[in-house]
């Protein structure tokens, strides 16, 4: 109809058994603009944009691309109509090279024969444009999460799409990479590409977008002009209430004389010679760039991977956990970074997910106590404000944020002494973030727990930590006390190994 919009989603409704994910949502994208899409976890952002590619088939509604009307799309139609999408979950083939992933589904070919060399050359150019050093021949499985995301971005850009949809592209990226991504986004905007940008990081929204569309509970709330809007207003629209602070205050409860975990020259899993101490009641932040080896360190502490050498002392005793089970029994928990792959058990219920680590403990003669199981799940559903119609709901039917809350609930239930949070708020909305921060504070303040927090968000790291340790390429490059926290210092340490 009108040529005013390049993409219109009209009255989209999407029902899942037991859940209405989208109720009558309408979105309109103007040529050459960046439209930000925001909303709490489970608001339906990802579901909405998946309708544009056929990854989700809407129950009802229309999709109009450049005046052409569709009741549903397919990935082919989307690509023919100039739509490219970066999904929230990774969509790559681990056994293929970066170059082949870049050209997945549309290889450079002569007849039926592919031209590998041309693809590798093109890929090298694309990566260069993003200021990243990725070998086009490297297999995807050997790249870090951050690099994999950069390949996704390069892939979307490479398609020369007229409409680019990005679902939380910055979540796995460190600030330097976010910067190079922004450069590309700005360039594309200048070239007349229309962009939908989804993020929970409001500063990114303000920096990039022209307009902001707010969603809540699967419904359209309001569209605002970015430069005329206020942060507080946005948050209120998103969560339906007012929030004042980004980081809840915490009284100092660090017991300097009680060391919970001490690492002495721990080496292995890509890390070398890591020595640090975590005190009781402390939140120790672990910072660094992509590939710094933080996740790897967490895996060793948690027993998921064995260390090669060095010592780990937990509550005064030397430990060497051979499996997560051993670590859990000692009182260590890990909230993993990749929640779909390592955290949530998608095919089973919320109740079972929360109880999983404690079934054995709470069973008599192997038989489960159903009442207790239900009570525990109920308690943490309330504590964590998990949005669900029933505890028997399968976790795969929850939004990303709510899945994260289920995993957090699991470790609360397990009553661990040291909890490692690997990117705890990755892809989580401001409202839920605040709740998770409060929870973390409560854990150290009132429940005598200790936290090791890995985060790529500089602000979160500085806002939450009592101390920060910085890693760079598997080496420990710096340790900062609260007074020394500045972005510049952390960045210097973080790139120390790379600069050498």
């Amino acid at each position: 109809m009108s040529e005013e919009y390049v993409l219109q989603l009209q009255h989209i409704r999407k029902e899942y058994p037991g859940v209405v994910a989208l109720k009558d949502v309408t979105l309109e994208l103007k040529p050459g603009e960046i439209l930000a899409l925001i909303g709490e976890n489970g608001a339906g952002k990802s579901t909405l944009i998946k309708c544009c590619s056929g990854a989700v088939i809407p129950t009802s509604g229309k999709i109009i691309v450049n005046g052409k009307e569709f009741s549903s799309m397919t990935p082919q139609l989307a690509s023919e109509n100039g739509i490219a999408i970066i999904y929230q979950e990774f969509n790559n083939v681990k056994e293929l090279s970066a170059a082949e992933n870049l050209f997945l589904g549309r290889p450079i070919r002569k007849g039926i024969v592919i031209d590998k060399k041309a693809m590798e050359e093109e890929a090298a150019k694309a990566f260069e444009a993003l200021h990243i050093k990725i070998d086009p021949k490297a297999l995807m499985k050997n790249l870090t999460v951050g690099y994999q995301q950069m390949v996704e971005i390069a892939k979307a850009v490479q398609q020369n799409a007229k409409i680019l949809i990005m679902d939380e592209p910055s979540a796995p990226l460190t600030s330097a990479e976010v910067e190079s991504m922004f450069e590309v986004v700005e360039r594309l905007r200048k070239e007349g590409v229309s962009i939908i940008y989804i993020s929970h990081r409001l500063e990114e929204i303000y920096r990039l977008s022209d307009r902001i569309l707010v969603m809540r509970d699967g419904e359209y709330v309001k569209t605002l002009i970015t430069k005329d809007s206020e942060v507080q207003e946005l948050i209120k629209l998103m969560v339906g209430r007012e929030l004042t602070q980004s980081y809840p205050p915490r009284k100092d409860c660090v017991k300097k004389d009680e060391v919970v975990l001490e690492l002495q020259n721990v080496t292995g899993n890509g890390d070398t010679d890591i020595s640090l101490k975590i005190h009781k009641g402390e939140i120790l932040g672990l910072g660094g760039l992509v590939g710094a080896g933080r996740t790897e360190l967490a895996e060793m502490i948690f027993g998921a991977v064995r260390k090669k050498s060095g010592k780990m002392i937990f509550n005064g005793k030397e430990i060497d956990p051979k499996s997560p089970r051993e670590a859990i029994n000692l009182g260590i928990a890990l909230v993993p970074e990749d929640r779909k792959r390592h955290g949530a058990m998608l095919g089973i219920s919320i109740k079972n997910n929360i109880n999983m680590p404690i079934y054995e403990r709470n069973s008599k003669l192997s038989v489960i106590n159903n009442k207790q199981e239900q009570e525990i799940a109920e308690k943490y559903r309330e504590n964590m404000a998990i949005k669900t119609p029933s505890l028997n709901q399968l976790v795969k039917n929850l939004s990303g944020g709510n899945q994260q809350k289920v995993i957090l609930g699991r470790w609360m239930a397990a009553d661990s002494e040291l909890i490692i949070f690997d990117e705890p708020t990755r892809g989580i909305d401001v409202g839920a973030k605040y709740e998770i921060y409060k929870l973390m504070n409560d854990l150290v303040e009132n429940q005598g727990k200790t936290i090791l927090m890995i985060s790529s968000e500089m602000e979160e790291l500085m806002g939450m930590s009592d101390r920060i340790v910085v890693l760079s390429e598997g080496n420990m490059t710096g340790e900062l006390s609260k007074e020394e926290f500045t972005q510049e210092v952390i960045m210097t340490y973080a790139s120390a190994a790379r600069d050498k």
């Binding site: 058994p17 037991g18 088939i57 948690f302 998921a304 499996s323 997560p324 089970r325 670590a327 859990i328 029994n329 890990l334 993993p336 792959r341 390592h342 955290g343 949530a344 058990m345 998608l346 095919g347 089973i348 079972n352 109880n355 999983m356 680590p357 079934y359 054995e360 069973s363 192997s366 038989v367 489960i368 119609p389 029933s390 028997n392 709901q393 699991r410 397990a414």
Partner: protein
């Protein structure tokens, strides 16, 4: 949730519905089909598969598969027969040793799958190949018979009007349902089958779970082998040939996903009964063996296909 429960019951009923339709069809074709006597005979005929299907279901829940079932049945057949006849071992002791041996074969599978990391399809296929050779060597290709009179109780005895193998099968089904729904390791089966990495990071010793499941599969196959031996009253070097696929068919017909992580015991019971009804009913109807094969293939596709289409519709 309510809706969820209703649709779950309906799905469960779908497979039972297939069973009822079959029963009606066969009864129309030959009224003798529905006699209590024939129904019990039918159950007795599937007892061996039903018993083995409990263990197989656990394995399939993990997303694995056990192709060794047939060989374990054969091996136990020969081992138990040899112990009783050639070594004069007391009948109960022979049964015990045989069950132990079959559990050990299961553990061997568990070792290959969990510790070495060989895909279950390959590991259990190797077990199948090797143990069918071993069984034949042990019996030298000859049937073994002359068991104590009492031994026939497992396969051919009765409690009132009910054949003992049927009772054994039902007990196995109940144990299976209990393990899956009431015990913590039953929960682990679903967790490991659904997402093994997440299960491991939740503190589940996934290796042990695999060992346990394969051991149970070996055990139930062994028990099936004992019942078969008692039923035929003769140990044969190829007694269990091809049984693994019959058992897999029962499990899969029952709606257990070969991808792992989902399935219910009641479905497997229905799947087993369907196979029983088909086998028995088609013979009653005097249908040519080759056509029986074709019918079996078609029923399998229809039942599983129907399930898949439903799931697809739900997912969209």
């Amino acid at each position: 949730m309510k809706e969820n429960k209703v649709s779950r019951v309906l799905k469960d009923q779908a497979i039972w519905l297939v069973f009822i339709v079959l029963v009606i069809a066969f009864t129309i074709a030959n009224p003798r089909f529905i006699t209590m006597n024939n129904l019990l005979i039918m159950l007795r005929q599937v007892a061996v598969w039903g018993i083995a299907s409990v263990g197989m279901m656990f394995v399939i829940l993990l997303g694995d598969i056990d192709l060794g079932t047939g060989s374990v049945i054969t091996f136990v057949n020969i081992l138990c027969a040899k112990l009783m006849v050639e070594f004069g071992v007391n009948m109960y002791l022979a049964v015990l040793i045989s069950l132990l041996a079959s559990t050990l074969i299961g553990l061997l599978n568990g070792f290959m799958v969990a510790t070495i990391g060989i895909p279950a399809l390959i590991a259990t296929f190797a077990t199948q190949t090797a143990f069918s050779g071993i069984a034949l060597i042990m019996c030298n290709g000859q049937p073994i018979n002359g068991f104590p009179e009492k031994f026939s109780v497992f396969g051919a005895g009765w409690v009132g009007p009910v054949p003992i193998p049927v009772i054994i099968m039902i007990i196995c089904f109940i144990i299976g349902a209990f393990i899956l729904n009431k015990t913590y390791f039953g929960r682990y089966f679903y967790a490991v089958g659904g997402n093994i990495e997440a299960a491991r990071l939740s503190g589940i010793r996934t290796g042990r779970v695999k060992y346990l499941v394969f051991a149970l599969s070996g055990f139930f196959a062994g028990l099936a082998g004992i019942v078969l031996l008692s039923r035929t009253n003769s140990g044969m070097g190829n007694a269990g040939l091809g049984y693994e696929f019959k058992v897999i068919t029962c499990v899969v017909l029952g709606g257990v996903s070969v991808a792992g992580g989902s399935g219910r015991m009641s479905g497997v019971v229905a799947g087993t009964f369907i196979i029983g009804a088909l086998n028995n009913g088609m013979v009653l109807m005097n249908i040519n063996t080759w056509i029986q094969d074709i019918v079996l293939g078609i029923v399998l596709v229809l039942a599983v296909g129907f399930d898949c289409i439903q799931k697809k519709r739900q997912a969209n």
